[in-house]
C-alpha cells in the first residue's frame, strides 16, 4: 500500500480540517489578548467562553467549572498536586491504580517525595481496578482517589460510577483522567460522581497541547500555575485562543458524531480483533473483551519483541505503537501489561492499534496480512521461538 495507514489514534490524532479552519482567524487577524480592555481583544474572550460552554455541555458541567490547561498532563498534575496541597490538613494519602498514565504515576512519585502516601490499587487480568481493594485502602487520611476513565494502552474502561459512589460514601474527592475516554464514551460528571476530570484535545482531532481540567464548583483547590488572573484566577498564562476555539470545534463535532462513529469503530475493531486472534497463533488480546474503548485493540504476540514489529510495520507504511508513546525508547516493558499479569517476555511483544473513523476495512485487511508476515518473520529470528519449538517437539 502506498498510502500511510494510521493506526495510532491513542497517541495523537490528525487535526481535523474543520478544526484548523476554526482556529485560523485567531492567529493573524483576531490576535488580541483576551484580558485586554478594548473591543478588538474582548471578542476573543467571547470565543474562549463559547468553546468553554461547548466543552462544559459535553460532560454535563457548567462553564465556570472548566479550566483550560496546556495539556492533559498538566490537568492531571494540577488535580493531584493542588488537591494534595489544599487538603494537607485533612490528610496525606492518595489512592490511584497501577495502570494510570505516567502523568498521574510520576506526579504521585513526586508527591511521595514531598511526604504524601500513595496506594496503587491492583487491576484484574482484564485491567479492571479491584473495587474491594480500593475501598479497603481508604484511610481517615485519604484525600483523593484518582482512577483513569479508560486505559490508554489496553483500552479497558473502569467502573467509574462505582468508584464515584465509593468516593462519595467516604467523602473523598474523586479525580479521573479521561484523556482517552473523553468524547468516546458518554460522560456526565454529576451522574458518575466525578469531582475532577482531565481531558486533552489532541486525542479527538483537536490541536496538540491544550487540555482542560473540570473542577466541580465548591472544590477549593488552588492554582497550579501562578501568575495573571486568567481562567478566573486559577490558571495563569496568556490564553491560547486559537487552540481553545479548535478544541471547542473538535468537541462539537466529536459529540455530534459520537453514536454513529463509535458504532462503526467498534465494528471495525471487533473485525480486527477477530481476524488477528484467529489467524496469528500464540496471540492474546489484552484488556477487557467488551468493556473497552471503541477504537482500541491491543495484542501480545509470543516470542517476539514489540519495537521490531513496529519498525517492520512502519516499513510497510503502517503507524502503530506498543504501549504508550511516551515510554518508547525505554527498556522497561509496559507497566500496564505487567499489572494485568503478563510475564515480561510477553509484555514486550505487544502491539497497540487504535482506530479513528477515517480507517477502512481495506486498511485493516492489509494490516492483518502484514502482521501475519512480520510476526512470522520475527519468530523465525527468535531464540525464544526456537526453544519453544524444540520443547514442543521433544
Amino acid at each position: 500500500m502506498e498510502k500511510k495507514i494510521y493506526l495510532d489514534n491513542a497517541a495523537t490524532t490528525r487535526t481535523r480540517p474543520e478544526v484548523l479552519e476554526a482556529m485560523l482567524p485567531y492567529f493573524s487577524d483576531k490576535y488580541g489578548n483576551p484580558s485586554s480592555v478594548y473591543e478588538f481583544a474582548s471578542q476573543n474572550r467571547k470565543a474562549l467562553d463559547e468553546a468553554r460552554l461547548t466543552i462544559a455541555n459535553s460532560i454535563g458541567a457548567e462553564s465556570a467549572e472548566i479550566y483550560f490547561t496546556g495539556s492533559g498532563t498538566e490537568a492531571d498534575n494540577w488535580a493531584l498536586i493542588a488537591t494534595a496541597e489544599a487538603y494537607s490538613s485533612k490528610g496525606n494519602h492518595i489512592i490511584t491504580s497501577k495502570i494510570e498514565h505516567h502523568a498521574v504515576l510520576h506526579t504521585c512519585e513526586y508527591l511521595k517525595k514531598r511526604g504524601y502516601e500513595i496506594t496503587y490499587i491492583d487491576v484484574d487480568e482484564n485491567g479492571i481496578v479491584k473495587l474491594d481493594q480500593l475501598e479497603k485502602a481508604i484511610r481517615p487520611t485519604t484525600i483523593l482517589i484518582s482512577i483513569m476513565f479508560a486505559n490508554n494502552e489496553i483500552g479497558t474502561i473502569q467502573p467509574i460510577r462505582e468508584i464515584g459512589e465509593i468516593a462519595k460514601r467516604h467523602k473523598i474527592l474523586f479525580h479521573t483522567d479521561a484523556v482517552q475516554a473523553y468524547c468516546q464514551v458518554d460522560i456526565n460528571v454529576d451522574e458518575l460522581g466525578i469531582d475532577m476530570l482531565s481531558a486533552s484535545a489532541h486525542k479527538l482531532h483537536g490541536p496538540k497541547a491544550i487540555g482542560f481540567l473540570y473542577i466541580k464548583k465548591g472544590i477549593k483547590i488552588r492554582s497550579f500555575i501562578h501568575g495573571g488572573a486568567q481562567e478566573r484566577g486559577r490558571r495563569a498564562g496568556t490564553e491560547n485562543v486559537p487552540y481553545a476555539v479548535g478544541f471547542g470545534k473538535a468537541v462539537e463535532i466529536a459529540m455530534a458524531t459520537m453514536k454513529e462513529r463509535t458504532r462503526k469503530e467498534t465494528e471495525l475493531r471487533d473485525y480486527l480483533i477477530k481476524r488477528v486472534l484467529a489467524e496469528v497463533p500464540y496471540t492474546r488480546l489484552n484488556g477487557h473483551r467488551t468493556r473497552r474503548l471503541p477504537n482500541n485493540a491491543n495484542f501480545s504476540f509470543q516470542f517476539i519483541e514489540g519495537e521490531s514489529l513496529l519498525i517492520m510495520l512502519d516499513m510497510n507504511n503502517i503507524c502503530a505503537s506498543s504501549g504508550s508513546a511516551c515510554t518508547s525508547g525505554s527498556l522497561d516493558p509496559s507497566h500496564v501489561l505487567l499489572a494485568i499479569g503478563l510475564p515480561h517476555e510477553i509484555a514486550h511483544g505487544s502491539l497497540r492499534l487504535t482506530l479513528s473513523e477515517e480507517n477502512t476495512y481495506e486498511e485493516i485487511d492489509y494490516t492483518v496480512e502484514k502482521i501475519k508476515e512480520i510476526v512470522d518473520k520475527l519468530r523465525k529470528m527468535s531464540p525464544l521461538y526456537e526453544d519453544f519449538l524444540a520443547n514442543t517437539i521433544r
Partner: protein, 145 residues
Amino acid sequence: MYTKKVMDHFANPRNMGEIENPSGVGTVGNAKCGDIMRMYLNIDDNGVIQDVKFKTFGCGAAVATSSIATELIKGKTVQDALKVTNKAVVDALDGLPPVKVHCSLLAEEAIHAALWDYAEKKGIVIEGLEKPKSDIHEEEKEPTY
C-alpha cells in the same frame, strides 16, 4: 531514530539462523529486559571462525547489532574476534541512539558466550576471555510499578 546502516541490517539481517552441531553457542540477555541474543559459531582447527549465525529476540538495534557483529567476526581468528568491542559494533552501524547502546554490549557479550562454550567443549583456555555474565542486565533494577 536509527541510522541507515542499522535499518539495513534490521531489514536484511546477515547470517540469521542456526548452525547444527556448532563449535560453540552462547545466549545472553533475558526476556524480562526485552532482548536475548544467541550466537552460533563454527570454528575450524586453525581457530578461524568459518561460520556464524545468530538469533535475536529484541528491538531493531538488537537485531542490527547481532547482524553486524556476525559480519565483523566471520573469517576472523578467535583472538581477533575477541578484539571486536561493542564500540566497534556501534561504529560499524554509524552509531546507535544512547538508549540503545546496551544492545551493542549484548552483541559483544554474545560472541564471548559462544567462544566460552567453544573453549569449554574443546577443553582449552582462550587468553583474555572471561566467563561472560549470563545476563548483562543483571545490575539493572526492576521498575517500581
